[in-house]
């Protein structure tokens, strides 16, 4: 029998009393609870043999609302003893775990890419704090009868929204084998293997869809860049001057397995987790520098 209340939930003060005070730990913890629940939901849905697109979109939208709301209340970040990046890093930890599971489900059109590059939790500079936080995330939350989450704002938390974008991009790879560049798997020239499927659909649809054709070409455009990157194009080398670009010519399977080897440099890891080089990427190339520590958590967030 499906229970109404989540197990182990302790009833606390009424949320109405505290809704006006955003700095109250109960309110903030409820929001975090919802965030965690949403992330877990998303991760779980990716493990299902057929994730429902409607459900995933609704969860992603809810996550967006939560992230917007969290960014709307600056006092939240101030009051919390740990830096604001913690929320992001907890999120990224969950996303990383999701990415790990997601990769197992996603069809890998490139046979050499046996495994997806994993984001190692130990790699993150915030790892210790992250671990502490994730244990806190399972604290008890009251679920009140009249939940009033307050109004939403339109401010954007860039790191969280980037994470949301990565969720949707990953979702796309799972749901639809279309040629969108997957942020998690860099240099995938054979994504266009899924295109024959789309192509046959276009045939079935009798070719009335000119906008659809243009769309395919646009995806082709980004695909072109990816393909050329794989072949050791100038563009990639430009970005990673300090990285041994001979890696580009190495078989993808080797790169995919590099995460299991120890002792690789930060630069190599950065290369592995190359974000998609597409106009739609929220990150401009200049932010992807190994020396920029601030960009790193966000980078991992994007790649997860």
């Amino acid at each position: 029998m499906t229970t109404m209340m989540p197990k182990g939930q302790k009833r606390k003060l009424s949320i109405e009393e505290e809704s006006s005070d955003y700095r109250a730990p109960t309110w903030e913890s409820q929001q975090q609870f919802l965030l965690t629940v949403s992330l877990n939901k998303y991760q779980f849905s990716q493990q299902l043999r057929e994730p429902s697109l409607r459900r995933s979109v609704l969860i992603a939208n809810t996550l967006r609302h939560i992230s917007l709301h969290m960014s709307m209340v600056p006092s939240v970040n101030v009051e919390v003893s740990q830096p604001p990046g913690i929320a992001s890093s907890a999120l990224t930890a969950s996303i990383a775990a999701a990415a790990k599971r997601h990769c197992a489900v996603t069809v890998d059109s490139c046979s050499a890419l046996a495994t997806c590059p994993m984001v190692s939790l130990n790699y993150s500079p915030n790892s210790t704090e992250k671990t502490n936080y994730s244990s806190e995330s399972n604290f008890h939350i009251s679920v009140e009868d009249d939940e009033d989450w307050g109004s939403m704002s339109t401010d954007t938390d860039s790191s969280l929204s980037a994470v949301i974008s990565s969720i949707l991009a990953a979702l796309d790879s799972t749901i639809d084998g279309n040629p969108q560049p997957a942020p998690r798997i860099p240099l995938r020239p054979l994504e266009n293997m899924s295109k024959p499927y789309e192509g046959s659909v276009a045939l079935v649809n009798h070719g009335l869809r000119d906008p659809g054709d243009c769309r395919e070409q646009q995806e082709d455009g980004s695909m072109e860049v990816m393909r050329s990157s794989y072949l050791g194009d100038f563009t990639v080398e430009d970005l990673f001057q300090d990285i041994d670009t001979s890696l580009v010519d190495i078989d993808m399977g080797v790169i995919g397995h590099r995460s299991t080897e120890g002792g690789h440099t930060a630069g190599d890891d950065l290369f592995m987790y190359l974000p998609p080089f597409s106009p739609h990427s929220p990150f401009s190339p200049h932010s992807i520098t190994p020396t920029s520590q601030n960009a790193q958590p966000a980078l991992i967030g994007q790649l997860a």
Binding site: L34, R49, L53, L58, A60, D172, N205
Partner: protein, 443 residues
């Protein structure tokens, strides 16, 4: 039917006729055909079971025609998409009947990816006395044939056979959530999360895409299509609902691609009830035109709304299905119940609407008298021929006898699929793997 008699029906005069338990398979769709003679159910195992109403016998006029199993067939099999390494579920998502045009019955059934047209026909005669082969089917030795004989049709036991006449496949990347037959009886639409395709019933290798809401960048996807239906009379008009609570009415005469809507129905959000779950609970799970074609009914998580096609800015009527769940949305989100997709149906005269809820409850709303009733579909509470007792959920304070409190509701028992006979007050309600058929009390 007259409205007076419809009003009377609401006063708990439904009696339970029969309880058909399907074999441990969860029913995923139920549908009466256009005459009400047949009732089709689809289940998670990909099977379709068709019930037929017995002719009323003169010897027992009190005993209205009961529904008995007429045909059972495996409509869809589990498949495997090798490209994506995903299994394609055989669960029947929707069944839609075609109006009867000859002795055979036709229905469309669909799973996530493939629509099939099935022909259900009866065979009660068999040719006997072939010239060149004997009754076993073995070819006779030509030298033994001395006379000519012509086969004669002999009566045999009634056999109902279902054959797949058309298979409409490979047109949907996403999961098909609805199908709808056009009033022109030549075309139908199939709808998935992002696209709507128009088919001709005779042509299986081609379909026209008429709606496509897939964004160029999937990261920008925030809305999906949840249901679509053709207008019952206007063969050029159809409506589709979205996960954001809006309905779009489109005219196929305007353009080949109906991305631009003619009418856009959406109720502005009430700021006082806004929450993180506002969008999820506004997601429309079902859209149904009234039989008259004048109204549209939509079901979201907590309400049923009736819209006038002439008024886009707000619904004509809003009915609260289970508003006591509004304060429990966080828990319902956690246990995934908030994503349940309930259906809604009109009665034959469009005066009563019905939809399901939890705890095997289903609700009926009389649009004229504004009265409503909650009934339960369960074996324990109904005996054959017994009148269903109205149920009540206690929302707070003292719980009266026979009332059930919100926290005692069983959320695993949900009634998602119901259907109403097109002319009479007979309803079919699917409760997990049980099918309940309720009929109006005979006076």
């Amino acid at each position: 039917m007259e409205e007076e008699s419809d009003t009377r029906k609401i006063n708990n005069s439904f009696l339970r006729d029969h309880n058909y338990a399907t074999e441990a398979d969860i029913i995923s769709t139920v549908e009466f055909n256009s005459s009400g003679e047949l009732l089709a159910t689809g289940d998670k195992g990909g099977r379709v079971v068709v019930f037929q109403r017995e002719q009323e016998s003169k010897s027992q006029p009190q005993r209205r025609g009961e529904y008995n199993v007429y045909s059972t067939f495996q409509s869809h099999e589990p498949e495997f998409d090798y490209l994506k390494s995903l299994e394609i579920e055989e669960k029947i998502n929707k069944i839609k009947w075609l109006p009867q045009q000859n002795a055979a019955y036709f229905l469309l059934s669909t799973n996530d990816k493939t629509v099939k047209l099935w022909k259900i026909s009866e065979r009660d005669k068999r040719p006997e006395g072939y010239n060149l082969k004997d009754e076993d089917g073995r070819i006779r030795d030509p030298s033994t044939i001395t006379t000519l004989r012509v086969p004669v049709l002999q009566p045999m036991d009634l056999m109902v056979e279902a054959t797949a006449r058309r298979v409409f496949s490979n047109a949907h990347t996403y999961h098909i959530n609805s199908i709808s037959v056009n009033s022109d009886l030549q075309t139908f639409i199939s709808t998935d999360d992002l696209r709507i395709n128009l088919w001709n019933l005779e042509i299986t290798d081609r379909s026209f895409n008429i709606v496509d809401i897939k964004p160029a960048n999937m990261e920008e996807l925030t809305e999906v299509i949840t249901s679509a239906e053709f207008h019952p009379q206007e063969c050029n008009t159809f409506a589709y609902s979205s996960s954001k609570g809006s309905i779009r009415l489109c005219d196929m005469r305007q353009a080949a691609l109906c991305d631009k809507h003619c009418k856009y129905f959406e109720e502005p959000e009430d700021p006082s009830t806004r929450s993180f779950f506002s969008e999820i609970i506004s997601s429309i799970s079902d859209v149904k035109f009234s039989h008259s074609g004048r109204y549209l009914m939509t079901r979201d998580y907590l309400t049923v709304k009736v819209w006038d096609l002439q008024m886009e800015n707000k619904p004509l009527e809003t009915y609260q299905v289970h508003d006591y769940l509004r304060g429990k949305l966080c828990s319902l989100y956690e246990n995934d119940c908030i994503f349940d997709k309930f259906e809604c149906v009109w009665n034959g005269s469009d005066s009563v609407i019905m939809t399901g809820s939890y705890n095997n409850f289903f609700r009926m709303f009389d649009r004229n008298t504004k009265r409503d009733v909650t009934l339960e579909a369960s074996r324990e509470n109904s005996k054959p021929r017994a009148i269903l007792k109205p149920r009540k959920v206690c929302v707070g304070g003292k719980r009266r006898k026979d009332e059930i409190s919100v926290d005692s509701l069983d959320f695993s028992k949900k009634i998602l699929h119901t259907t109403w006979h097109p002319h009479e007050n007979i309803i079919a309600v699917a409760a997990t793997n049980n099918l309940y058929i309720f009929q109006d009390k005979v006076n």
